[in-house]
Symmetry: C2
Subunit: 135 residues, 2 copies
DNA sequence: TGATGATAGTTTATTACTAAACTAATAAAA
DNA sequence: TTTTATTAGTTTAGTAATAAACTATCATCA
């Protein structure tokens, strides 16, 4: 029974993601945000509080502060004080933010999808299932 | 027929990698290098020229210059001028570099392996196969 | 040859990122 | 209560990363 090489899988996967990010970065920039800002934007609805975003995205809180500031300045999100806890900021996606997010994710999906196209439909579903289990 | 959500696969995978990197970063630092330096170190034998490393790892050339400088200062690689092309530097892994690389990759494998353990053996093989197709 | 364009790697000048320290609000315990 | 500990988010201060420009070598072709 062939034992799988964890390090190799890691490296393949890492390089795959990095090359996709690198290839779409210029197009994302044209939308008026940076790739990391897009990642934040894409999680805002599910995780509307900065501290949560930092956790989910594995980035330090000060980075989230900065990205949110930029997203806010660009009109992609606005923020409210959470009534039940005055320390918390609740982030809200603006219509413009939603539109830009959709465009950005579409770019990413297109580039990643080009890779995924090497798999047939059943394999794609299988991959989705496996990655969901890992997350 | 359920169409898969490319963006969702992407996001799951991205977050998986980032959380693994974040969790092992402190231990890797204790080995005397940073995570990105480890990624460079791990590719040196297959891609001994800085420009190649930049391409394979999707990072800018000046970043490679910096990482290689540090790896050299730490005694993990040394460099020679390529006789056939005086512009090129051939990087060579030192014994110490090889040892440190192995330790670093072991840390990464352990952390990633802990996630992989959520899958049974057949599923792990399946994942390996799928990712290999994508790379 | 020698002139032109391309490539390898570095340096510089600048921007991006983040650790550490901070303020403010909440929670829990004394 | 009030004190201690925790948590949310920001600011500051310093490091990390990189785009743009540079030097040196190589390749091609007139």
């Amino acid at each position: 029974m062939p034992k799988i090489d964890v390090g190799k899988i890691w490296s393949l996967n890492y390089r795959l993601l990095m090359s996709v990010i690198t290839s779409v970065a210029p197009d994302i920039t044209e939308l008026g945000l940076e790739t990391k800002e897009l990642f934040v934007l894409a999680e805002v609805e599910v995780h509307p509080h900065p501290a949560e975003l930092a956790g989910v995205l594995s980035m330090p809180k000060p980075s989230v502060t900065m990205y949110v500031k930029r997203l806010e300045a660009a009109g992609f999100v606005r923020r409210e004080i959470d009534g039940s806890d005055l320390r918390r900021h609740r982030l809200i996606l603006t219509p413009e933010g939603r539109k830009t997010m959709a465009r950005g994710l579409a770019l990413l999906s297109k580039a990643f999808g080009a890779r995924l196209a090497r798999l047939n439909s059943a394999q794609q579903s299988e991959l989705a299932t496996l990655l969901e289990k890992l997350s």
